[in-house]
Structure formats: C-alpha cells, structure tokens
Symmetry: C2
Subunit: 387 residues, 2 copies
C-alpha cells in the first residue's frame, strides 16, 4: 500500500479547526499524505514524512473536493427557449418542469445514461468529488425507478423526488397515493434520500408531510425543496421532520431563520437558480449570523440552473449572498458534506477521504476573485488523480 | 494553399445579415470553408464545396472568435486582500491602482512577459481571438514603454494608458506634462491607441481632452474610460473627440445616451467590473433601444475585474444588463470589432479572418443558459486550430 505525498501547496484548506486557524483551518506552505484512498497526514511541507511517491501541487492552493448536495442530472431535452423568453421578462414557474418530464420519459436508458455521464464529467472538471442526484423528471413508477437506477451508477447519494410536481395526467390525490405507494416502493431500493418540492405550484405542507413521512418510514433520509418561489411552510416543516437539508431558502421569515438556527437542518443555497431565473438571492449573511449551517450547491437542472460550476456558485455567493470567500468555500465543501450528513468528505484530515482539488492559484479566495476562470487544475478522488 | 471544410455545425453565427436571419445572421446545419487564414465560403452543409481537408464541429455551434477590446493584462502582484475587504463592505476607489503600479515597476521583463502570456492563454481558452491590451501600471516613461513593448508581443491592439491615475510621486500638472510629452513619445511606437481614465479620482474633462489630443496628434486612435464611478463628462467628451469607444458607461444621463446614439463611438460595457466591485450594472437595454452600438469586454485587471472569461461576461450581460443572448453574443464579437474599428474580425464572411469558436453546445445562447460552464470546445485563429 503505497503512500503519496502531495507537496508544494501554497495554502491547504483543511476545514479542520484543529489543523490551522480560521474557518477553513488553513495551513500555509503545506503538504498532505494519502494512503489507501484516505488522508494519512496534513501539515507544514518542511515536516512532511517520507513517502513512496511525491507529487507537486505546483504552488497552488489545495482544498477538499466540492460536495454538490443538490443536482437534477438525469433528464433529456433542453429549455433554452424557455430561458431566453424568461430573460425577456417572463417569470419562472415550476410548471416548466413538464417539458423536461416529457423529454425524459421519451428517452431510452442509453441516452439518459450518456447525458448524465457527460454532466458528471463536467462536475468533476469543476472540482466536485461528491454528487447528489435527484430523480423527478420521470414522475411515473417506471420512469422514476429507471432514473434513480441510472443515477446510482454515478453516486450513492441518490434522492427520490417523485413529488417534484403533479404531472398533468394525474389528479392530485391519486398522484400522492402513487408517489407514497407503488412509486416509492419501486424507487426506494435505488435511493438514499426522499425529497419534496414544497412551494407554490408544487406541494403544500400537508402533502409534503405525507410524502416525507412515507419516505422516512421506508428508511430514506429527508431533504426538502423549500421557500424558493415565495415564503411558505417548507423550511419549518424540514426542521420539524429532522430533514438533513432545506434547499433554496430564498424567501425566509425571522421564524424560519430561528427554526434553522435551533434545529439540525442545513440551509442549502442554490444561487445558480436565482441567477438563471433573475430572482432575488437568498440572504446567506442573515443565516450565518444566526448560526445556521449553510451549504452551496449547483442545482444543475435544465430549467432554472443549468450550471455544473461550483466555482461559479462560490463567486455568486460572495457577490450576491453576502458571504466572505472563506464562508463560500466552506459552504461548498464542509457545508455540502453536512447537508448529506457525511463526515468523511468536505474536510482534509487523517482518516477522511482523499478527495481534493488543486487550484491554479495560491489561495482558495481566487475562486471568488477570478469569476468565470477555470482555476481547477487537478482533482483527486479516493487518493487518485481524476484529471 | 489547402482548403479546410469545417462542417457538422448545428448553428453558424456569421453576424452577417446577408448570410442568415436575425441579429446574428445564423445559418442552421452549416459548414464553413477556410483558405489561407481567411473565410472563403459559408452556407448550408449540404451545399458545401469539396475541400482538401474536412473537419467536424461535432454538432456544436460555431461563432466568430470573441473580440476583447478592453484588458489590462501587463501587471505584477495581486489584490486579493483588497477584493476580500471590498466584499466585506469597503467601496472601490481608483486609488487601489497604486498597489499594482508598485508591483509592476518592481517586476523584471521576464516576469511581466510570462504573466501576460498566461493571461493571454486564458483568454484564448475562453474563445477570445482578438485582444486589446492597455498599459497603465507603469506610469513612468520607462515602465509605460516596456509594458507596451511586452503587450506588443501578443497583439497589435495596444493602448497607451499613462493617464490611468496620477502616481503619488508626481504633482498633477507635472504628470500631465510628462504623459503628453516624453511618456507619449516613448509609448507611441508601441501603441495603436491612447486612453484616459476620465472619472472621479482620476482625470477631469480638461485633463482628459489634453491627453487625448496629444495622442491623436501623434497618430494614435482614441478610447476613453468614462462614467464608471459616477456620471461625468467622459462619454460626451469621447463622442466629441471621435473616440472609437467609451468604456464602462455605467452611469449615463439621457444626454450621454443621445450623444452616443448620434456619434460614431461604441459603448463598451464591462460587467465583470460591476460584478467584482459590487457596483450597479450599466443599462445595456437603454443603449440598444436608442440605437447605440454596444461591445462587451472582460476588463481583465487585478483590481476590479480579474476575469478572462468572455462567456462569463455574456452570462452577466443577459442576467444583469438586459441584453438578449443574441445581443450579448453580438456585442462580444461584432461589437468588440467595432470598438477596435476592425471589419476583418467579429464576423464570419468570405474575405474576413478565419477566427472562430466551436462550442460544446448546439446554440450560442448556451453561453448565457449555462453560466460558468466551459463550453468552448475549440478555437481557431487565422484558419488554424489553437486548441
């Protein structure tokens, strides 16, 4: 079992307060040792132990691989025409999802798999090493199960989102029975999580609670789309039900912030969606100041956020959400890990996974300072270079 | 002299109204022929002539290479600390330029050349095939001349910006004499253009006019930094003096818009600067509706816009400036060409340069629809693939 030394690291972001100062636990002039896919040692380069293999980070910063805890990667078709019309002034409504549902149902498995693989490659290129993938464009027993089975080829963090919207061919009550009955039964073997879109045009609090509890009864963890389009019950419901994450959190009341601050639910912010729907951004500053754990994710989907770039989301978080560069980097790594209830990723400390990003820049703050620039020079997953 | 056929183009953006409909003169299912570095033919793929070499665009869109008409690439040091402080609430002031001036003066030619080359590579990777580079971080006779000589190694579109700010070691009047006298004399052999930063904290209208006229008397074309930080005389001065471009145009009065609409000066918008200084964005919609020619450029510089990504600027232009995706793509290609008074670039028509971008997407609108994603799959300059 060979040991690999990665050295010439200008700044190592560990996210481990025991390893260095600040929110990011940073170590200057650092090195890191990997053994058997795990981090074995971190510290000052001058104190690094001898290893079998020595690699250079080229004087760049190294940080934990990004944890993208919210994506909708399995779909067919695109919605460029809808995007262009919206940029001309038409507001975003959840109903546009039906376009993608029709295209996804019509696509054979090979097409969906190849398209998902292409998006996973893009995520890896942007430094993402842990990916959550939701269903939600099948909305039939067969199509939800096959979308999740395809997603499972790429990640263990799969989420059943049959309760995305009510498809036009169903009456609401009958569709809820389907989602919580046969569709859940078919989806559960391929899923770790269940999710509900609790918002205007999707599902109300009672409906969301019914779906969430059915999923939890099947052993699935809970996450909720909440408070994206308007203030509503989603965030407080997420906290009440012990969800790992409430996602979007765009429109929050003081009571919502208070509930998050006193619960165990992460607030996952998805600024790519506000960017591409020209909606007001969530107020991360308010959440952080209240002590809420914040995650950043791409929300990659063809309707409201067709980006796979976590660096782009970090730049938006700093420009628009009131986060410092360090807070944004933390949210895209440790925050995402918390939103998936994982302690083996989003951190670089002995015993954790050797999933990391090497930047072509000396400081992680460059991800916000140099928006749009491809700064990810290397990505390692389980101790092996992916690119 | 061999001919090259580039085919399998989902959509060819020509920017030539004679070639196809719409602002972008688009041809679906297209091909393009290049001979001796020039475009020799464009049209429907099924009608393409026989050529010596056949290449595939892989079903992507093809568009003219981006024309980045405003960059400050020759500098040393960074200003990450200033950026981070500003994101925490400190406003941007032109005076931060002095930090970069000190670092640039201290850097040897080899360092400045290598750093400029790295940024030029980034610009090429983002699809830019024509680059303007300004001086303005030397601010001494020797340093302005050497920065321009370095810039000239990478482009013919070099701009003397001795009138960036008054460096602290000079009294205003004496510095203006220097800029219009010995510094201009040393810079002019390396420059095509002269530029003045006419704004709060930089130069007023009388000073700007003096510098501009001195440059024009030496045969240099004129461009002006105008109306970035507050409303002011810059834009109308640019039109009055026949400048090729007034750059920034963030704060405009009705009289400014009217002057631009009735003059020959392009309004060059630099949304990367508003993004990274958290300033209000310029209103492109108002300019376009008044009939003004608009260009988009990166403004790449270490203080206020450290991006080299024209796709990022296009996405911002659509989200924040009120441009349609087609208008933003046009501004980043044909608009930039107009801002440099060039008719051989920014367009794909027989006789023009074969400078083009191949996207990993079927439509140029994806540059706005998929923000942050590396969609530039290929770049050709003078009929040869650069990457």
């Amino acid at each position: 079992m060979s040991s690999v030394l990665l050295t010439d690291i200008a700044t190592l972001v560990t996210n481990d307060p025991a390893a260095g100062p600040g929110l990011l636990g940073e170590i200057p002039a650092a090195a890191l040792v990997m053994v058997a896919g795990k981090v074995a040692w971190v510290g000052a380069a001058r104190e690094a132990p001898a290893c079998d293999v020595r690699m250079s980070a080229g004087g760049g910063a190294v940080l934990p691989g990004f944890v993208d805890s919210h994506t909708h990667l399995v779909f067919a078709g695109d919605r460029l025409a809808e995007f262009t019309a919206r940029m001309g002034g038409r507001p975003y409504q959840a109903g546009g999802i039906a376009t993608t549902v029709a295209a996804t149902r019509a696509a054979p498995d090979e097409v969906l798999t190849a398209r998902t693989a292409a998006l996973v490659d893009e995520l890896h290129a942007s430094g993402v090493t842990t990916i959550e993938i939701k269903s939600g464009y099948g909305l039939s027993v067969l199509d939800e199960a096959r979308c999740l089975a395809i997603a499972r080829q790429f990640t263990d963090e799969t989420t059943f989102l049959g309760a995305h919207v009510v498809p036009p061919e169903h009456e609401r009550g009958a569709y809820l029975d389907l989602v919580t009955g046969p569709m859940l039964a078919a989806a559960a073997p391929h899923a770790r999580w269940i999710d509900v879109f609790c918002d205007r045009g999707a599902f109300d609090a009672d409906e969301a609670r019914t779906v969430a509890r059915a999923g939890q009864a099947k052993g699935l963890g809970l996450r909720l789309h909440a408070n994206q389009l308007e203030p509503g019950p989603g965030v407080q419901l997420a906290v009440e039900l012990g969800a790992a994450s409430a996602d979007h959190c765009t429109h929050l009341t003081a009571a919502d912030v208070d509930a998050l601050a006193h619960g165990s639910t992460v607030a996952t912010l998805l600024p790519g969606a506000e960017f591409s729907t020209r909606a007001p951004y969530p107020d991360a500053r308010r959440l952080l100041d209240a002590g809420v754990t914040v995650a950043l994710a791409t929300d990659c989907n063809p309707g409201s956020s067709y980006t796979t770039s976590m660096p782009f989301c970090i730049a938006l978080a700093v420009r628009e959400l009131g986060m410092t560069p360090a807070e944004a980097v933390h949210a895209a790594t440790a925050g995402g890990a918390r939103a998936l209830r994982r302690d083996d990723v989003g951190v670089l400390r002995p015993g954790g996974r050797a999933d990391l990003v090497v930047l072509a820049a000396p400081d992680a703050g460059y991800l916000a300072y140099r928006p749009g620039v491809a700064l990810v020079a290397g990505v390692w997953k389980d101790g092996r270079p992916m690119r």
